[in-house]
């Protein structure tokens, strides 16, 4: 693949990087080395462009991002009340708050439980060198991917979740990444590392919240390591403001008989990309990646979803639903790779879209790459408006057109909303959806598909 380096885009970050390395001169050597390697990767590839042949960025144009200048750093003040107001919240949850990439112990609410360690990444780096050293940036950082490299180059702090062998935690662990208010546009690099040991079981909620009124750039990286027979229920809520950029990377490594189930809810940002890759690295692993995205105005949502079956007997399921209005654009790029050794794998992939207006665009690329024969794989994709006949049916029962449409759109989303099990989380995504649907419909200019 040819990626084109735009020297400008690299230059935008290079002075910040130099300043950062001076500030962090006392970091442990192995961390400094990670940063250096990542910076050299990033300076080689730069911010990707849409250029022909750059398959990964065919439908997502980052020009608006490269046009802006971003300052590194963190500033504004954040209160618990402010977070509660705009993010899912439950007092019983274990909550870790990371503001502009820096762990905030004042805002975090950590309950003491045996076998569960919830600390700042910095603290983990200082105290737990050997365990952490073998994991940090091994999934995201060394790969040739611009934004995980950029995050790793500015690796500073973040959150660290470690669950001991066999420990099952009932209450969800909520990691809130907040971008604070600032007059300047800043680049923030939130980072989360999850080490879920064999036989453990947790529920992890990851919220990306942006309370700034200005344009911000966030490039979060999440690395999840799952030991044998562990189970991890993951939720991702992306609530950036509509003039910001969110380029997230999630990398999961699954050992044998693990279960990773993830549901994402994405409504924010001007340009957002949720790049998630799960590696089924041992037999019998199961991976579910689901999500709902809603876009309006000139928003752009890109779901880059991939699963690699490296060993036999794995199961994977990718299922995304999108609702688009205004002049927005959504991209679903799903990929399933079944490697030669991964016999008896089962993979399915689906992307369904509701297109509510002229000017909205959906680009779906559900692809399968199969090198083993004793497997089953299927995929499907659809795009269309609400069905006119169904609309007519509702109207003939006395429901006015707008309400009928709202019912159908809500019905389309329902299936995904129902996956958000923790009550406070469900209530939150439901509230956001119900607030968003009238906005989507106000930008809708067509009746439906015949």
């Amino acid at each position: 693949m040819t990626l084109v380096t735009s020297p400008d885009a690299v230059d935008k970050f290079s002075s910040a990087y130099e300043k950062f390395t001076v500030e962090k001169a006392t970091s442990p050597n192995w961390v400094k080395k990670l940063r250096e390697q990542a910076w050299s990767t990033f300076s080689e590839i730069g911010i990707p462009t849409k250029r022909r042949g750059n398959e990964l960025w065919k439908y997502t144009n980052l020009q608006p991002l490269t046009a802006l200048d971003f300052y590194a750093g963190h500033s504004g003040s954040v209160t618990t009340a402010r977070i509660k107001n705009s993010a899912p919240w439950d007092d019983d949850w274990h909550t870790l708050v990371v503001v502009d990439g820096k762990f905030s112990s004042e805002l975090s609410r950590i309950n003491d439980i045996d076998g569960l360690q919830l600390i700042s990444l910095n603290e983990a780096i200082e105290t737990e060198t050997d365990d952490l050293k073998s994991l940090l940036a091994t999934l995201a950082g060394k790969e040739e991917y611009a934004f995980s490299a950029l995050n790793t180059a500015f690796l500073d702090d973040g959150a660290y979740v470690s669950v001991a062998e066999g420990v099952k935690i009932e209450q969800p662990i909520h990691v809130v990444h907040v971008t604070s208010e600032s007059v300047e546009s800043r680049a923030v690099y939130p980072r989360l590392l999850v080490d879920a040991r064999a036989g453990s079981s947790i529920v992890l909620i990851e919220t990306h919240l942006n309370i700034a009124t200005t344009s911000q750039f966030s490039a979060p990286v999440v690395e999840i390591f799952q030991g044998e027979s562990s189970s991890l229920r993951h939720y991702r809520v992306q609530m950036e403001n509509e003039i910001s950029f969110h380029l997230g990377t999630t990398r999961v490594s699954q050992q044998s008989d693990t279960d990773f189930t993830s549901t994402s809810f994405a409504v924010g940002a001007q340009i957002a990309r949720n790049d998630i890759h799960s590696l089924l690295d041992a037999p019998g692993a199961s991976c579910t990646l689901h999500g709902l995205y809603m876009t309006n105005g000139v928003q752009h949502q890109d779901q880059e979803i991939s699963t690699t079956h490296a060993k036999p007997g794995g199961t994977s399921d990718q299922f995304y639903k999108g609702i688009l209005s205004g002049k927005s654009q959504a991209v679903f790029s799903g990929k399933v790779i079944v490697m030669r050794d991964a016999q008896k794998s089962d993979a399915s992939q689906k992307d369904l879209n509701l297109l509510l207006s002229r000017g909205a665009e959906v680009d779906a690329k559900p692809s399968l790459e199969i090198y083993a024969d004793d497997i089953t794989a299927s995929h499907g994709a659809t795009a269309g408006h609400v069905d006119r006949d169904t609309l007519f049916y509702l109207q003939s029962r006395g429901v006015d057109e707008e309400s009928a449409k709202a019912i159908l759109v809500r019905g389309f989303a329902e299936e995904m909303l129902n996956e958000f099990e923790p009550t406070a989380l469900y209530d939150f995504v439901e509230r956001v959806t119900d607030e968003r649907i009238p906005v989507l419909l106000s930008e809708s200019d067509t009746i439906g598909t015949a």
Binding site: G53, E55, R340, Q343, N353, L355, L356, S357, R358, G359, A360, E361, V362, D363, A364, K365, P366, S367, L368, E369, I370, Y371, A372, D373, D374, I375, T376, A377, S378, H379, G380, A381, T382, A383, G384, H385, S444, T446, G448, T449, A450
Partner: protein, 487 residues
């Protein structure tokens, strides 16, 4: 300048493999190897072409050389090959003695007729019996066109491309490059610069072509490339069914085939284009074989219909995406494909359906079979443009894996820019079901027979779209091509 090239017949052909691997021992008129502006001029001069066509070729050559010096060959397909040395290819190879086209079948070299006999092409009387009009392209020159007279009574023009350039220059000039411009892609540019012959068909308004038109392509000369160009124009309200078949001799060096096919369906017209591609796939160990880089595209005007059906069993590499530009309201595009990759074959094939007009409709059914160490990729694009009100697409692509060393890939691109469009895509990948195999084998079929029966049944949705004689051949081809893949 000319070069007498006589080739002895390969004798080490083992039975049950490629049955069309014979070499015809005839004298060939060859231009020197390599490509430069002089070769383009030479080809044009040999064919006594008008100045506009030479200009067009030179523009294409200029574009191609820029591409070659720039990014080179396209790299995005899932195919792996050592690359092509474009200076090590004969760009013009004509059977000697045909520098003047034969006036009748009697003038055709008997040995060549014998070749076609072996291929089973119904030339001569058999042509009439089978109701097929054949234009046979041997290396790059069209050698015989049958039933031209019967067709001309209806006003149908069916002749070699070179004849069309001489006799119907206005039609050729109007439509050549109108669907696949010379700058379309690397191989289309190459073809536009050096194409030496091909077929041309024109169906006048309101005429339903009563017989199936057919072209048979064959690469004979070692180290030669074949660059044929086909142009079919169906005028308003007309109908034509067109068949294309291809073979090449058994050779250990690879041969390049870069064809361009342009279809023009004017208002209310219908074109049905069927292909059986059986170019030499290379040996079991992956030596030789045809590199098939083909650009095929149709333009569908108001209420018209273009239907592509292909059975791809040959070629070491297939890179081919027959497409339809649905620019007229209510136009229909169809793509039915069975592609098989056995041994070391690699196929990256699919279609593009570009919906521009209102109420346009497209259907895609693709069946990919991978066996041995073959790799088969479906790559398709469905584009719904903002003006395509109520456009409908349905895509189904299924892959079957035979053996644990092959690969089956599916890469669809779906781009929707109109909310009234309805689009559905579904795909599946699996191996032949053990239960089905067991059932058939319990009834006395051998494993191989059982596989063949299941695969034929599985491909039926596509095979049934083929004209009758072709359907039979296609089924046989699948059987022969799969030999050795099971057990």
């Amino acid at each position: 300048m000319t070069n007498q090239n006589t080739i002895s017949r390969e004798s080490d052909l083992s039975g049950g493999e490629y049955k069309w691997g014979f070499v015809t021992d005839i004298e060939t008129d060859l231009a020197p190897k390599g490509l430069n502006e002089d070769i383009v001029r030479l080809i044009s001069a040999k064919k006594e072409e008008p100045a506009w066509l030479l200009d067009w070729r030179l523009r294409a050559y200029k574009h191609w050389s820029e591409l070659e010096q720039g990014q080179g060959e396209p790299q995005w397909a899932m195919i792996d090959y050592p690359g092509v040395d474009f200076q090590d290819i004969y760009y013009y190879a004509a059977p000697k003695g045909t520098s003047e086209a034969p006036k009748s079948l009697d003038e055709v070299d008997p040995e060549m007729l014998d070749t076609f006999e072996k291929l089973g092409i119904p030339l001569q009387e058999r042509a009439a019996l089978a109701g097929v009009a054949v234009d046979a392209v041997f290396d790059s020159v069209s050698v015989a066109t049958t039933m031209e007279k019967q067709l001309s009574e209806l006003g149908i023009i069916f002749c070699s491309f070179s004849e069309a350039v001489k006799n119907y220059p206005d039609l050729v000039q109007k439509y050549l490059g109108s669907v696949v411009p010379h700058s379309d892609n690397f191989y289309a540019a190459l073809n536009s610069a050096v194409f030496s012959d091909g077929s041309f068909a024109y169906i006048p308004p309101g005429v339903k072509c009563p017989i199936e038109l057919m072209t048979y392509f064959r690469i004979n000369t070692e180290g030669s490339g074949q660059f044929e160009r086909t142009l079919i124009v169906a005028d308003k309200g007309s109908y034509v069914s067109y068949l294309e078949g291809c073979t090449a001799p058994f050779r250990k060096t690879s041969q390049l085939h870069a064809a361009v096919v342009e279809l023009v369906a004017l208002d209310d017209a219908e074109i049905k284009y069927s292909t059986i591609q059986n170019w030499f796939p290379g040996t079991k160990d992956g030596e030789g074989g045809v590199y098939n880089f083909v650009t095929k595209r149709g333009r569908a005007d108001k209420n018209s219909k273009i239907s592509w059906t292909q059975v791809e069993t040959g070629s070491a590499i297939t890179w081919k995406y027959p497409s339809v530009i649905l620019r007229g309201d209510n136009s229909v595009g169809e793509f039915f494909s069975v592609a098989l990759a056995n041994n070391h074959q690699q196929a990256d094939t699919g279609t593009k359906m570009i919906h521009i007009g209102k109420n346009t409709k497209s259907t895609i059914v693709s069946k990919g079979i991978s066996a041995g160490q073959g790799n088969n990729t479906y790559r398709g694009q469905v584009q719904i443009m903002p003006g395509a009100e109520n456009a409908v697409n349905h895509t189904q692509c299924d892959s079957l894996l035979v053996g644990d060393k092959c690969g089956a890939h599916t890469v669809p691109y779906i781009e929707v820019r109109n909310p009234t469009a309805r689009l559905e895509h579904e795909a599946s990948t699996s191996k032949v079901s053990d239960d089905q195999l067991f059932y058939l084998m319990a009834r006395g079929l051998s494993e191989e027979e059982a596989h063949h029966m299941i695969i034929t049944g599985w491909s039926r949705d596509v095979i049934k779209e083929l004209p009758f004689e072709f359907a039979l051949e296609a089924s046989q081809l699948l059987k022969v091509s799969l030999e050795g893949a099971v057990g």
